[in-house]
């Protein structure tokens, strides 16, 4: 991973990075595999080991289920889910609801009492104590009664084990083996997180706890658990993902080695460890996983795709956002809306605006700006600490203790009980995530990896003021001299990272005002750092997002990733397959506070444009824009497009090497027009600074012809003796790299190097200047996108008294239904900024008012609401209505007509149907599809229809026997026609049908269906 502890770039200064050709703003965090940058996307999953109770659908036999996905924190054991269920009504002679347990490998559910007995509990009283912690709780006791009754027939442990064993996979085994089998299931497979081995007492306590939770939910004392609660979620970042994969691969290496050694031993050969250990397994598979994103150790397991993605390098913000992306691996087709919705617990952790539209909406998320993912600490250390604090371990717990003491949970698993939990809380509060649930008598500690956390200011509860003081801020401000840092704040107890669970147990003030008015209503313990921190990378670029309709922010968050700008400062050294760079990027006049940290002012992606909101000619209808020709001529939104193509001399078997050179037409077949090669230099590679068009050869390359070595040799020998030209043997085939037919540009950089397999490799970067033209796409920062509808000559544009003409005229109809108020406020503030020469602050949730901006405008002699009297550029007359004009930051999006325009009159056809090919890259035609066809049908333009469907598409002539109606044999050269079946050589008609039709007929004939064409002469 770049910039990690093991990276060459780790800890280098800005200057050193620059000297190495690296961009100092590149933050790393991705991998480079086979020359492409790969991001490992954080994967969301449910946390392990915790007990969740869910209600079941009213049709299901069980009304509630308590689940625990139990995983041992070390080793590579798969997760085992234990379920405790309660029936809707009575079963088997029991009148009340019964609790059943489902065990791994056991086919049917086992009554709770029998599992308890199998775990070594003898009396019903003991069982009762495991489940009900308050001896006076009669309600729960009644509910549990019938469940305990179900076990009354099974009187001792062996009977219970046998009962379980009978329902396992041990068919026809003896009683002893069944008992041993059942014991093994309980010891090794049931709740493995408690322990693997003789941990029955502890497992009984935990099973009791699961039952308790279940019963409490049934009795309505406790809410059903919320699957979408973010405190239950864990995020696997690159570390855990790679650890998991490595662990599996290492196991595979060991397994393979063991197998080979075993075979060596069996065959009596000498043991050879070097031969047994397949050293490449781990490297190759890790590489494969990172390169393809298919996250699995062996090819047989289910694939987890899309874990690794190519880093988005369109805009700097897009790269940043890509590195903070989350994915929930739930099927995209699922109609379930719940997991896609924004959950209250995601506040401050996940950006509420930035998510894709469509199938992945709400499943792909982005981290909020200050969100942090916990790394995790070893459980053993924490446990030791807890024992030092006099915690009673679970296996030593007695029934009397449990009623009075607090249960301690570590990462979801119950580890013990403690008499004085307050002591623990005060001691551990600053070290780890700790939740003290007094009502449940539970203390929950979280130390595992993948919890989402966020920092908050700590409030001194006695004075109701922040612990952090002005002096700290001052020190932080000149960190260069004081060596003060954010992590110091955390260490000194001024700021604290809280995870979602702990966050729920604290009181958070939104700002200082709330803090000041506390006391009466609430005692605050924490304060938000700033409410705008709830946004992620892309949403933080939006000015006044709190004044927009929320989907507009989502649209902009998606569009900001398509804007052209400066994606890195070293773009001139990089050979990106595709890259856009804006010629004159500007930092926005209307900024947000976070932009400084996102480097948006250093590496911007847009231009401040003077925008008028008016109809003006109608060339801006339906979300199009009128742009000033003069501004475009001066360089507005002009950009370069870099594209890199690669060519490699591939080595084939038997010496059949491809060669990069200038192909010789005397010995090469399949050459293009001679002038296509004219730009190649003597080495067969194009030079730098060459203007290239579609069809030009960039790299000349030839491959030897012929499959057998002998043929090649003969040809080569003849070529060597100068006979080739005379005898006409052409031994090579042209396979040069040709410029795409619709593209043009200038060769910008040529790199010649050696590929991985020792082959010669050439990379050529082509630069194309993209001048804005009609059809190119632009957008403001409020989800207001549009294409250029007209490039209006400057003299025709409207102007105000100062002679200022807009760069862009946007249609007013774009505003009311979309309610992008922030767009208008931005224009207003932008105008003030342009007039006064200062940056405007448009951070979310700051008390800036339109009135205040208006007053500032008035000071500069403008209308407070942004209206202006404009004069029609064509007539010179003042326009009837006042026009709203201001300065908006506009982005040029990467969809440009130059790369999309395609048309065809004639050209190549498809193999199968002989219809014109599809797609711009192949010079394909534009399809008259289902709906387009309807237009001609509606018009009754049948001749047009026939022309489009047949004549200019795949017209074909077949000769049909007039007797049988099947296709006859036609020898056009000799002009003889024959239908063998009918012995008919005279009655044959030529028919013009689409080739696809002929194909269909023949396919039908291959299925023993005879489609007959019965012909009728229509006369002329």
């Amino acid at each position: 991973m770049l910039h990690s502890d093991f990276c060459h770039l780790n800890g280098l200064t800005e200057y050193q990075l620059q000297n190495m050709g690296e961009c100092p703003y590149d933050q790393g965090g991705y991998f480079i595999i086979n020359g492409s940058e790969k991001v490992l996307i954080a994967q969301e999953r449910m946390g392990n080991n915790a007990v969740y109770v869910f209600r079941r659908a009213s049709t299901a036999p069980y009304s509630h289920v308590a689940e625990c996905r139990s995983v041992l924190d070390r080793g590579n054991k798969p997760a085992r889910t234990a379920q405790v269920k309660i029936t809707r009504g009575g079963v088997k002679g029991q009148s009340g609801q019964c609790v059943m347990v489902s065990l791994p490998y056991i086919r049917s559910d086992i009554p709770l009492a029998i599992v308890f007995r199998a775990l070594g509990l003898e009396s019903d009283r003991e069982m009762m104590e495991r489940v009900i912690y308050d001896p006076k709780d009669e309600e729960m006791q009644t509910l549990l009664m019938s469940s305990l009754d179900m076990g009354s027939v099974i009187t001792d442990q062996n009977l219970a084990l046998d009962f379980i064993g009978k329902r396992g996979n041990s068919v026809g085994a003896t009683r002893d083996r069944r008992i041993r089998y059942a014991r093994e299931v309980l010891q090794l497979e049931f709740l493995p997180h408690i322990g693997i081995g003789a941990y029955e007492p502890a497992k009984a306590w935990f099973l009791g706890y699961m039952t308790h939770q279940l019963l409490a939910t049934v009795l309505g004392r406790r809410e059903e658990d919320d699957r979408d609660h973010y405190g239950l979620k864990r995020l696997d970042l690159a570390g855990p993902l790679l650890t998991g994969l490595f662990r599996q691969l290492f196991q595979k290496v060991v397994k393979d080695a063991r197998m080979i050694l075993q075979r060596q031993l069996d065959t009596g050969k000498e043991l050879n460890i070097a031969l047994a250990v397949k050293s490449r397994t781990i490297t190759d598979n890790l590489k494969y996983a990172i390169a393809t994103g298919n996250w699995r150790a062996d090819r047989k397991a289910a694939v987890r795709t899309g874990v690794s993605q190519v880093l988005n390098r369109l805009t700097y913000a897009a790269s940043l956002s890509h590195l903070r992306r989350l994915n929930s691996p739930i099927g995209r087709e699922g109609k379930l809306a719940k997991p896609r919705q924004l959950h209250n617990t995601q506040w401050g952790m996940i950006c509420p605006a930035e998510t894709p539209e469509g199938q992945a909406c709400g499943l792909v998320k982005n981290l909020a700006l200050m969100a942090y993912i916990s790394v995790g600490t070893p459980v053993a250390d924490i446990l030791e600490m807890l024992y030092n604090f006099e915690m009673e371990p679970l296996y030593e717990v007695t029934a009397e203790q449990i009623t009075r003491q607090t249960k301690v949970f570590l990462n979801g698993s119950w580890v013990g009980i403690h008499p004085r939990p307050e002591e623990l809380v005060t001691a551990l509060r600053m070290l780890l995530s700790i939740v003290f649930d007094i009502s449940q008598g539970e203390l929950r500690i979280g130390t595992d990896a993948g919890r989402v956390c966020r920092p908050l200011f700590i409030v001194d509860t006695e004075t109701s003021t922040l612990r952090i003081r002005k002096q700290h801020i001052d020190q932080l401000r000149d960190y260069e001299t004081t060596d003060y840092s954010f992590s110091r704040l955390v260490r000194e107890g001024l700021v604290e990272y809280l995870d979602v669970n702990e966050e729920e147990t604290v009181m958070i003030a939104m700002d200082q005002e709330h803090l000041a008015t506390s006391g009466e209503h609430a005692i605050y313990t924490h304060m938000e750092i700033h409410p705008s921190m709830i946004f992620g990378v892309c949403a933080s670029i939006i000015p006044f997002p709190d004044h927009n309709q929320s989907p507009r922010n989502t649209y902009q968050a998606a569009m900001g990733k398509q804007a052209m700008g400066m994606y890195l400062t070293n773009y001139n050294l990089r050979m990106d397959t595709m890259a856009h760079v804006l010629y004159y990027p500007q930092k926005p006049l209307v900024t947000t506070r976070v932009m400084e940290h996102l480097q948006f002012r250093t590496l911007p992606a847009g231009i401040n444009a003077v925008v008028a909101i008016a109809c003006y000619s109608g060339y801006n209808q339906e979300d199009s824009l009128i742009m000033s020709q003069a501004a475009v001529d001066r360089g507005l939104f002009r950009s370069v497009y870099y594209k890199t193509v690669k060519e490699e001399e591939q080595k084939k078997l038997f010496g059949q090497q491809e060669v990069i050179n200038k192909p010789d037409s005397a010995i090469t077949i399949g050459m293009k027009e001679a002038h296509a090669y004219s730009k190649l230099e003597s080495d067969g590679i194009i030079g730098v600074g060459e203007r290239v068009r579609g069809g030009d050869v960039l790299v000349g390359k030839t491959a030897p012809l012929g499959a057998t070595r002998a043929a090649v040799d003969a040809a080569e020998q003849e070529a060597a003796s100068g006979m080739a030209a005379l005898s006409g043997i052409r031994s090579r085939k042209d396979c040069s790299l040709v410029m795409k037919r619709t593209e043009r540009g200038v060769t910008d950089k040529v790199l010649v190097c050696t590929g991985e397999a020792g082959t010669r490799m050439v990379k050529i970067r082509i630069r194309t200047e993209l001048i804005p033209q009609v059809g190119d796409k632009f957008a403001s920062r409020h989800g207001q996108k549009g294409t250029m509808g007209l490039c209006m000559p400057e003299e025709d544009l409207p102007f105000n008294v100062d002679g200022i003409r807009p760069d862009i005229i946007m249609n007013p109809h774009a505003v009311p239904s979309r309610m992008t108020i922030a767009h208008l406020i931005e224009a207003l503030l932008g105008k003030v900024c342009a007039l006064s020469g200062v940056e405007g602050d448009a951070t979310a949730f700051t008390p800036v008012t339109v009135d205040a901006i208006g007053r500032e405008l008035v000071r500069h002699g403008y209308d407070p609401r942004g209206w202006e009297l404009l004069f029609n550029g064509q007539t010179g007359r003042p326009m009837n209505a006042a026009i709203f004009m201001g300065v908006n930051y506009y982005q040029r999006l990467r969809h440009v007509v130059y790369q999309k325009l395609g048309a065809r009159a004639r050209g190549a056809v498809q193999v199968l149907t002989r219809q014109p090919v599809e797609g711009k890259s192949r010079g394909g035609g534009l399809r008259i599809g289902e709906m387009e066809k309807d237009v001609f049908v509606a018009y009754g333009a049948s001749a047009v229809l026939k022309e489009r469907m047949c004549d200019v598409s795949d017209k074909y002539r077949v000769h049909v026997c007039e007797i049988c109606g099947l296709i006859a044999i036609a020898d056009l050269r000799r002009a003889t026609f024959e239908c063998r079946g009918c012995k008919n050589k005279t009655q044959i008609a030529a028919v013009e049908i689409p080739y696809a039709c002929k194909l269909l007929f023949q396919e039908l004939m291959s299925m023993a269906i005879a489609p007959r064409m019965i012909l009728k002469d229509l006369g002329d």
């Binding site: 050709g21 037919r741 950089k749 040529v750 050696t754 991985e756 050209g907 056809v909 498809q910």
Partner: protein
């Protein structure tokens, strides 16, 4: 109306003027004669991919109508095979597939595939690149064909005895290594494949004789090939290695050394340079080299596969010539000034082409970037 033109129908000679200079105009789908301009064929069939791929395509469906290419290293041509399918789905299917592969692959293919696997394993273990592996397989196949294939295209036999097989593999590896720029000594190959050195040499000779062109030496070896690799085995830092390379190069032409094998010159040069290092800056020697002179001789002999005596003789000869510009003038400065972390040196192969391979990484010392052409 002209029927669309498939490749087999495309004329290769212009009907008008007889020229063979026919050019495909992909834009208009025409075949045009470059000499007279006549359109020889139109509505050409597009021979590119039949389908288009989109970003969000599910990769499960393969629109390809044909299978993969035929492996020229095997005899088996087109065939139908029963797919294995995922393990969980169908056990019967898997058994069928296995049974089929047993029967279908004929004896010679099975034998040859096994040999290819062994070659791959040997290459993997000695860190030889794909290039060498491919070349070795190819040579093996050629030699195998030479031995077994009759003039009528029928195989006279399909397999060889184990010791013969190994010897053939060792010879193929030796030639492949040498010709692809990663030369190994007979000794090394002999150890790698565990075949007697004399047998490796005999089979190399036999292979060269019978294969002619294909096994011909295409690259002349130098001392550099060996010095670098031996140094890397001994974890000698780069600066000292370059000294040894220099010494070996200079010494090759000197009296009493000229005519010796490259390996012995390389080993002698390393011994000489190491002893110089010991004399002048013993404190910077890595721990693995802080050993007596005899131990050092043994170590070099071990690495290079020649006797200690030869190493010593050549080393002494080089020492006698040391005044004749064997060492560069600044040689003392090139010795390390402080003990280096030995772990930092990679133990990867350092054939001459390896440096070129690395050029794809950041350094760019092997990669060249074209400069803009001056225009008048």
């Amino acid at each position: 109306m002209a029927a669309p033109t498939l490749e087999r129908d495309v004329p290769d000679i212009c009907e008008e003027c007889g020229s063979r200079d026919l050019i495909e105009d992909t834009k208009n789908g025409d075949l045009v004669c470059a000499q007279c301009g006549v359109v020889a064929a139109e509505l050409l069939v597009d021979l590119g991919h039949e389908w288009r791929t989109f970003e969000n395509d599910d990769s499960a469906y393969d629109p390809n109508r044909v299978g993969g290419s035929i492996n020229p290293l095997l005899d088996g041509g087109l065939s139908t095979s029963i797919s294995q399918g995922p393990a969980s789905v169908n056990a019967l299917n898997q058994r069928l597939a296995r049974a089929q592969s047993r029967n279908l692959l004929d004896a010679s293919d099975r034998y040859v595939t096994d040999c290819y696997n062994r070659i791959a394993q040997f290459c993997e273990r000695s860190g030889l690149p794909q290039l060498v592996k491919d070349r070795a397989c190819e040579l093996f196949k050629l030699y195998y064909d030479h031995l077994t294939l009759g003039a009528d295209g029928v195989r006279t036999r399909s397999r060889f005895r184990e010791d013969e097989t190994l010897a053939m593999i060792s010879a193929a590896l030796f030639i492949a290594c040498r010709n692809e720029g990663f030369p190994r000594t007979f000794n090394e190959v002999s150890v790698m494949v565990s075949v007697a050195k004399s047998r490796v040499a005999a089979y190399v000779k036999a292979m060269e004789m019978s294969l002619g062109e294909a096994a011909k030496i295409s690259r002349i070896r130098t001392t550099d090939d060996f010095v670098a690799r031996f140094c890397s085995y001994m974890e000698i830092p780069n600066s000292v290695r370059s000294l040894a390379v220099h010494v070996a190069r200079e010494a090759s032409e000197k009296d009493g050394i000229h005519g010796r094998t490259l390996v012995s010159i390389a080993a002698g040069a390393i011994f000489f340079v190491l002893s110089q290092w010991r004399e002048h800056r013993p404190e910077t020697l890595p721990r693995s080299l802080r050993i007596s002179e005899d131990a050092m001789l043994t170590r070099i002999a071990e690495v290079s596969g020649i006797t200690e005596g030869v190493v010593k003789t050549v080393g002494t000869k080089i020492r006698q010539h040391r005044e004749q510009g064997l060492l560069p003038l600044d040689w003392q400065n090139r010795l390390p000034t402080e003990p280096e972390n030995v772990e930092a040196h990679s133990r990867t192969d350092t054939g001459p082409d390896a440096a070129g391979t690395r050029a794809t990484e950041r350094s760019g010392n092997g990669a060249s970037v074209k400069r803009p052409r001056q225009r008048g």
